[in-house]
Amino acid sequence: MSKIDQQEAGAPAAPGRSSPHVTRLRTELGRIAAIAAVFGAAITFWQGDPFILNIMAYTFLFGALASSWNIIGGFGGQFSLGHGVFFAIGGYTTANLYFHWQISPWLSLIPAMILAMLVAVLVSWPTFRLKGPFFAIATLALNEVALVLANYFDTLTGGPRGMMLPFNAGLANMVFTSRLPYAVLMLGFLIVCLVVGAMVLRSRLGYYLQAVHIDEDAARAAGIDVLRVKLSGMAVSAALTGIGGSLFAMYLRFVDPPTLLSIQDIGVKFLLIALIGGVGTLYGPLAGALLIIPLEFHLRATLGGMLPGANLLILGALLVIFSLFMRRGVVGAGQALWARYRRTKNE
């Protein structure tokens, strides 16, 4: 920061050993710890209020999912609309293993993650050859295909009627009588996603993803294997999304195709939250979830009865406003304001 200010003030440049400004992973981990502390305090404060706890659980979960999407969608610039597929794979894997063989959802997180990752790499292999909107459309189609398959293969998915998961309360079953443990669980998942996001962003993979995002030719000239970098980013992103699907299934104790594969409530939502919060930034998706999810609950409660779908109308309007006036989301706008404040202060 100070370097830039010096430049703008026309001060002589001070080259040499002054440490270059690259945010280290350590710094990010400190920030994430602070976020965890604040949200932990919030859970403690509202621990007796199931309504608020439910909103918090959803906010953390969707903040985590948008952060996962952001790894390939934001850092890597690959606007996937197909993340609902990886989410559903996680949900159905955990639901099946729990329903048929009473396998603890904690254990089934591993196959859920691996399966989501495998499918992601498999379907991305051809689709990553498409660029920009063509890639987005291909992934959207993927989601729709998955919806049809989920309705059809009812031995695996319960078909359109879905699967109701038995209520056997206990930590091992990830089934709880109160909403408090769920809020803590979702917060834990959010922290995992933020830490993984930070580890990616502050590493070679993160810089390679950003390079691929900005200019593929320049990336190739820097020796980057573009397809491999995209696939690596997608694998990490899909693995986390799969875990999210598992947790969501255990939270609802119910899975059916529209719950896991609805394009407006799942697939597009990750991206919408990330866009509004600040796509490509580490904390933008979380900021987006903090804004969107409580707002959505509020709208559904106040408008839902009067005019069905009014909440979607308002979310749509929000997206239009953000894409017109705040292209870099809440976090981007905040950064711009901060930079302006710094500049006026220094003058």
Partner: protein, 242 residues
């Protein structure tokens, strides 16, 4: 095979439909050379450059690097074995800082963030951009972006630096400073291949020059020899009217 020949172009030919963009070009590049390739607009310079960097695959002929035919290698594979390049229309990573741009190159042979950023800073210092390390590449001046592209290539630890019209669009003073930088890199032992439209620049380097016209090699020698060659004059200025 001569040990000193680092890059060898053998009968390289590129057809676009009926158009022969590069026709049967052959030349060698010695290790530590500074070779300029010039030619008027449409001579096939950029096509030749793209054949060298792997953007295009030749219709026939070979590009040989350190004794191996690399004609089929993709651009990133060529970067991995030691090709550093710049783009005619500069391709910096605009939303990253100058330092991060250089880091993207430095990561090729350095895994950790600390090592890559340290090395990238050294390289920025070398090209004279250390004081701009924290500035987003998108707000650098054109001449700074050109330097940054060179920095990214150098951070790859490249053994051949290929410059595609790095002087285009720069003013006299900026051209001189880039020439000085390229000379310095060459003096430090780097093999450099410059593709240029501008004749003045070629004179400044005082090294070997190859002149292309209509996809053919029409002259090869020192700037004085080449610039006094009647064929070259004709290519640039047109035939003397009788």
């Amino acid at each position: 095979m001569n040990e000193q020949i680092i890059l060898s172009v053998q009968n390289l030919t590129m057809h676009f439909g009926g158009l022969v963009a590069v026709g049967d070009m052959s030349f060698d590049l010695q290790k530590g050379d500074l070779l300029s390739i010039i030619g008027p607009n449409g001579a096939g310079k950029t096509t030749l450059f793209n054949l060298l960097t792997g953007q295009l695959q030749p219709t026939s002929g070979e590009v040989v690097f350190r004794g191996e035919d690399i004609s089929a290698l993709a651009p990133q594979e060529r970067a991995q074995i030691g090709f550093g390049r710049t783009f005619q229309i500069s391709k910096t990573l605009t939303s990253l800082t100058a330092l991060e741009n250089a880091m993207v190159g430095a990561f090729l042979h350095r895994r950790s963030l600390a090592e890559a950023s340290e090395y990238a800073m050294e390289i920025l210092d070398m090209v004279g951009l250390a004081h701009r390390a924290d500035v987003k590449a998108g707000i650098l001046t054109l001449s700074e972006r050109r330097r940054l592209e060179i920095a990214r290539a150098l951070a790859l630890d490249c053994s051949v630096l290929l410059l595609d019209e790095v002087m285009a669009g720069l003013n006299q003073k900026e051209v001189e400073s880039v020439i000085e930088l390229v000379r310095k890199l060459h003096a430090d032992g780097l093999t450099v291949l410059v593709i240029e439209h501008n004749l003045k620049v070629v004179r400044a380097f005082e090294n070997r020059v190859i002149v292309m016209d209509f996809g053919q090699l029409i002259a090869d020698g020192t700037p004085e020899e080449v610039l006094s060659d009647p064929d070259v004059m004709e290519a640039y200025l047109g035939r003397k009217s009788a």
